[in-house]
């Protein structure tokens, strides 16, 4: 028997969901509102009503160049995502379609690397980057973010590929498809939504990564995370400018996330429901 849910209950759940969503979104909203305040307004205390000044944005842009860290963020997040996909697609593919006795162990081992605190390997990685000339380079950071996110990318793709029924691949073999045709006409179209979801999520993760991007860069390869951090010193905190810088940093990814929310939700929940 289906559970009868009264209208009142539904309304209460809807209101609660909106409330939770609002609480989660509030810091971002407050950052955006603060970016339109004057500096005295920003430190004056809690207020949801800015004077709608754009001076912070002008100042942020004149003090520091926004375009360069923006381009660094784009190159590093997209670059590291493509590199991760290049490695992870064949890896996840073979684990999903030709698993061995050790496949589960390998997957668990990969995931376990994410459990280690990043700071534990800061010194050795810093030294390796210094000695190989990778400090403050886009290539260095791209490689670093690729390695950091690779376990998640492999896991997501593995879960997705596992959903493709083996019988469909067998059917294509019976239908006379060569391996190439099988990949082009059957596998890829079925895997594209999963690859797209993984790509979007990984770009967001890489875009927001702050630990390594701040520590391994200074000026040349500094992405937007470092751009935000640069406003927190040295003359003390300028809340309004910091908020403007933060808004500028998160705006691109927020817009991208907004337009791709369906794929993202699918990416985060696949495997959960059949």
């Amino acid at each position: 028997m289906a559970r009868a849910v009264s209208t009142r209950r539904k309304a209460a759940f809807t209101a609660a969901a909106w409330l939770v969503a609002f609480v989660i979104f509030f810091p971002i909203l407050y950052t955006i509102l603060t970016s339109f305040k004057t500096e005295p307004e920003a430190i004056a205390g809690f207020s949801l009503f800015p004077s709608w000044t754009a001076e912070n944005y002008v100042e942020v842009q004149t003090q520091r160049d926004y375009f360069k860290p923006f381009m660094n963020s784009v190159v590093i997040s997209v670059g590291s995502t493509l590199l991760a996909l290049l490695v992870a697609i064949p890896a996840a593919w073979s684990m999903a379609f030709s698993p061995t006795k050790r496949t589960k162990d390998i997957l668990m081992w990969m995931l376990s690397t994410k459990m280690m605190p990043a700071v534990a390997v800061l010194v050795p990685i810093y030294l390796i980057f210094r000695d190989t000339g990778l400090l403050d380079t886009r290539i260095g950071l791209t490689v670093m973010l690729t390695l950091i996110n690779l376990p998640i990318v492999v896991w997501m793709l593995y879960t997705y590929f596992r959903e493709i029924p083996g019988e469909i691949l067998e059917a294509s073999r019976m239908d006379g498809a060569s391996l190439l045709n099988e990949i082009v006409y059957v596998l890829t179209p079925m895997a594209i939504p999963g690859i797209a979801s993984t790509m979007l999520l990984n770009i967001i993760l890489a875009w927001n990564e702050a630990f390594w991007t701040i520590r391994l860069t200074t000026t040349n390869a500094a992405p937007l995370t470092a751009f935000i951090a640069s406003f927190s010193s040295p003359q003390g905190l300028f809340w309004a400018k910091l908020s403007a810088a933060s808004t500028l940093a998160i705006a691109p990814i927020l817009i991208m996330g907004w337009f791709s929310q369906r794929q993202l939700v699918r990416g985060l929940t696949f495997g959960a429901v059949k």
Partner: protein
């Protein structure tokens, strides 16, 4: 043409033997059903013929050509899967056209053959839909359509109806039988449902633990089962198998009598029995009784019979329809 011969074919996964050694010949145009309980190796046998599994030993010969080492596509066989295995991102038309496209046929020929298949299978109005927008029966028809356009030398069906509801299963059963009469192509059909096997097959292959228990026409298997396994598996409701004194009286370790081969009376008969559950189907009534000195039996009675739970009835088995089995389970 579509003659398929299995010569000493065996299949093992590691140390586990799934199919010990099988010899079987399927004649051109025959409708052969592989039937047996779950895990008896019938699907594995079909997949070996299809080329989706490699044989551990033996040879598979199709129309005189040894195809044992050949890829599935080269065997000129078409397969219909239990899960339909349609391409979800393609329309019905594209699904049906896929094997033709792979065979490199030109567009005009593909369009014509797809239209023909759609007409035969009543899918003309659904050609632009995707599999997700179709019912189970329609999806199964698309899967069959995809198989027939290639004009294969044989069709392989792997439990194609088990995902459908009972009513649709009955309809599709007829449609597949009808298709066989139209196309006259060899069909190998795997099922665990003995009703499907009995109603569709020219020849039934009964499998148990990877071994062929018996091969024959449906009526041969029904009338003269070679052993206890076939006797118990073929026929619905199942044959009653009786041990002990009753069997000894007939000089056998076990005797079998089908539910429809016993006369039922309320006054006199060979075995006195108490009625348990009576299943009224309208045309027939299946009585589950407990006979004194014999044990539980199922009896097929007239649909109009009026007996109730706890009533006493008398049963008389038809002596000409009695099956006798030896100690090792073989028919005597």
């Amino acid at each position: 043409m579509g003659q398929i011969t299995l010569k000493n074919v065996s299949k093992s996964f590691g140390a586990t033997v799934i199919i010990p050694e099988i010899d079987l010949t399927i004649e051109d145009g025959e409708f052969v059903v592989f039937v047996g309980p779950s895990g008896c190796g019938k699907s594995t046998l079909l997949r070996l013929i299809a080329g989706l599994e490699d044989t551990s030993a033996g040879a598979i010969v199709i129309d005189g050509r040894d195809v044992t080492g050949e890829a599935p596509a080269k065997r000129k066989l078409a397969m219909v899967f239990q899960s339909y295995a349609l391409y979800p991102h393609m329309t019905v038309a594209k699904n049906i056209a896929f094997p033709l496209k792979m065979a490199g046929e030109d567009k005009a020929a593909i369009d014509r053959k797809v239209a023909d298949a759609a007409r035969i299978l009543n899918l003309t109005n659904y050609l632009d839909r995707r599999p997700g927008q179709l019912s189970g029966g329609q999806r199964q028809r698309v899967a069959i359509g995809r198989a027939i356009v290639r004009q294969p030398s044989a069709f392989l069906f792997d439990e194609p109806l088990s995902n459908l509801d009972a009513a649709l299963r009955g309809t599709m059963r007829l449609e597949i039988s009808e298709l066989h009469h139209q196309l006259k192509t060899t069909m190998i059909y795997v099922t665990h449902d003995q009703v499907e096997a009995m109603t569709m097959a020219d020849k039934i292959v009964v499998l148990n633990a990877g071994n062929i228990e018996q091969v024959g026409s449906p009526m041969e298997l029904y009338k003269t089962p070679k052993n206890l396994f076939v006797a118990g598996f073929i026929g619905s409701p199942k044959m009653n198998l009786i041990n002990g004194a009753v069997a000894a009286k007939h000089g056998a370790a076990t005797v079998g009598i089908r539910p429809e081969h016993m006369q039922i009376s309320t006054s006199a008969g060979e075995w006195k029995a108490t009625v348990g559950v009576a299943e009224h189907l309208g045309s027939d009534t299946f009585l589950h009784v407990n006979a004194d000195g014999v044990g539980p039996l199922t009896v097929r009675a007239d649909g109009e019979i009026s007996v109730r739970h706890g009533d006493t009835v008398f049963l008389t088995p038809d002596p000409t329809k009695l099956h006798r089995f030896s100690e090792d389970g073989r028919a005597m």
